[in-house]
Amino acid sequence: MADAPVLVLTEGELRRNETFGRRTVNRGAVLLDCTWDGGVFESGVMVGGLFRSGTFLGGVFCGGVWLGGTWRGGAWERGFGPDGKYHPRTVHP
C-alpha cells in the first residue's frame, strides 16, 4: 500500500527555496525556486527550481529544470531538460 501523504500543499500557499520529498502532494501551492523530489504535483505552479523526481499530474511548470520524474499532464510554460537545454512552451520532457 502506498504511503499516505504527510504534507499537502494547497492554494494560497507560497513556498520558497524549500525541498519537498516523496510524501508531499501539491494541490495548488506556488513553489518558487524549490526542489521537488519524489512527491505528486497535482496542481499549482512550479516557478524555477529543480524537479528531481516524482510525478507531475497537473499545474504549471515555468522556468525550472526537469532532471527526472514522470510527466503525466499539466502546462509546460518553459524550462530546461536534464541536459540543461531549453525546452520551449508545450515541449515537456
Binding site: 499549482g44 516557478v47 530546461f80 540543461g84 512552451r89
Partner: protein
C-alpha cells in the same frame, strides 16, 4: 545593409507603446543611415490582442511549430534574410535612433560579431543586441537560447542567459562582441522588469490571492517591475487614453465599476502597501534608487511625447516620511564624514 528588428511581446499594450517609439525614433534614423529595415513582431500567447493598425509596416507573427515561444522566435529570426539582426526586449525603448544607427559602423570591422547596447553582465540582462547574422548562423543551434551547465552542482549550477553561450563561442573564435558601447546613457530607457511581474501575476498571482501583495515586499525585482508598470501605465494612459496592464483573469476583489488599470501588475494601492511593509531600511533604499532610475527613464520617454511628468498624474507610492528620514540620515552622515 539590411537590418531585421525582431521583438517578442507578450502584452499588446506594452507593444503598442514600444512600437510608437520604434516607429518615430528608431526606424527613420536607421533608414537615413542607408539601412533597409524589416520589423518582425512575435505576438506571444495572445496574438488576437494585437491590432495590426497599431503596428504599421511590421510583420506580425504568432506562435507556431517554427517558433513556439519568444526564445524560439529569436532563434527563427536568425533565419530571416538580412545582414544584422537587432533583438530588442519589449521593455527597452530607443530614445535616440541616430545613436543606434551610428552603432552599425562597428560592423565595418569584420571581426565584430555583435554590439550589445546594454551591458549584459548581470544575471538577467535585457536584450538589445545588434548581431551579425552570418557569423551567428555558423554557431550550433540553438544559438541564442538560455541554458544550464553543471547541473550536478545544483543549486550552484551555471545559468547562461540568452545569447551568452553564443558570445562566449564567438569570442573564443577571436570575434568581438562589443558589450555596452559608450554613450548609451540617456539614449535607451530600460523597463525590462515590467513584463516579468505581469507574467507572474498572470501565471500564479491568482493562486496566491492577497499573498501576492506581500511577496512584492519580499522580492525587490517584482516591486521594481510593478513600479516600472506604474510609470509606463501613466504614460500609456496619457498617450492612448485607455487603461494599461489590465488583468486577464477575474479580479476577485473588484467591483463592476472599478478601474482595472494596472490590475495585471500591481495597483498603486498594492504597491504602496507593500513598500510600507518593508522594514529593512537598506532594502528600501536600494529600491528607491532603482525607482529613481526608472523615474529618469520615464521623464525622457515623456519628453519625447511632449509631456511633462505633471501631466502624467503619477500616484505617490513611497512611504514619504521614511524616505525623508533616510535622506536626512544620509545627509547627516555625509556632513559628519566631511567634518
Amino acid at each position: 545593409m539590411k537590418v531585421v528588428l525582431a521583438a517578442a511581446h507578450r502584452y499588446p499594450d506594452l507593444a503598442r507603446l514600444w512600437f510608437r517609439f520604434v516607429a518615430r525614433d528608431l526606424l527613420p534614423a536607421l533608414r537615413s543611415a542607408g539601412a533597409e529595415v524589416e520589423v518582425v513582431l512575435f505576438r506571444d500567447t495572445t496574438p488576437e490582442g494585437f491590432e495590426p493598425r497599431s503596428f504599421p509596416g511590421a510583420t506580425l507573427l504568432a506562435p507556431s511549430f517554427e517558433a513556439l515561444d519568444a526564445v524560439e522566435f529569436h532563434e527563427a529570426a536568425l533565419e530571416r534574410p538580412g545582414d544584422v539582426l537587432f533583438l530588442l526586449d519589449p521593455g527597452v525603448f530607443v530614445l535616440d535612433g541616430e545613436w543606434v544607427a551610428s552603432l552599425l559602423g562597428y560592423f565595418e570591422d569584420p571581426t565584430v560579431a555583435a554590439v550589445s547596447l546594454l551591458p549584459r553582465a548581470g544575471p538577467a540582462g535585457a536584450f538589445a543586441l545588434l548581431a551579425r547574422r552570418d557569423v551567428y548562423r555558423t554557431l550550433k543551434a540553438p544559438v541564442l537560447a538560455p541554458s544550464f551547465e553543471a547541473l550536478e552542482r545544483w543549486p550552484h549550477a551555471i545559468y547562461r542567459q540568452p545569447g551568452e553561450r553564443a558570445a562566449m563561442a564567438l569570442r573564443a573564435r577571436g570575434k568581438k562582441v562589443v558589450d555596452g558601447p559608450p554613450g548609451a546613457s540617456g539614449r535607451l530607457a530600460d523597463f525590462s522588469g515590467a513584463t516579468a511581474i505581469r507574467i507572474a501575476r498572470e501565471l500564479w498571482g491568482g493562486l496566491l490571492g492577497p499573498r501576492f501583495e506581500t511577496l512584492l515586499a519580499e522580492r525587490p525585482d517584482l516591486a521594481a517591475g510593478a513600479y516600472e508598470n506604474l510609470l509606463l501605465g501613466a504614460l500609456f494612459r496619457a498617450v492612448f487614453g485607455t487603461p494599461y496592464a489590465v488583468s486577464r483573469g477575474p479580479m476577485p476583489f473588484a467591483g463592476p465599476g472599478d478601474d482595472a488599470h494596472l490590475s495585471g501588475s500591481a495597483t498603486p494601492e498594492e504597491l504602496r502597501t507593500a513598500l510600507a511593509a518593508i522594514r529593512d531600511r537598506k532594502a528600501l533604499q536600494r529600491l528607491v534608487a532603482a525607482f529613481e532610475g526608472s523615474n529618469r527613464a520615464l521623464t525622457r520617454l515623456a519628453e519625447r511625447e511632449g509631456l511633462t511628468r505633471g501631466a502624467l498624474h503619477l500616484p505617490p507610492v513611497l512611504p514619504r516620511a521614511r524616505i525623508l528620514r533616510a535622506r536626512v540620515r544620509a545627509a547627516a552622515k555625509r556632513l559628519v564624514r566631511r567634518n
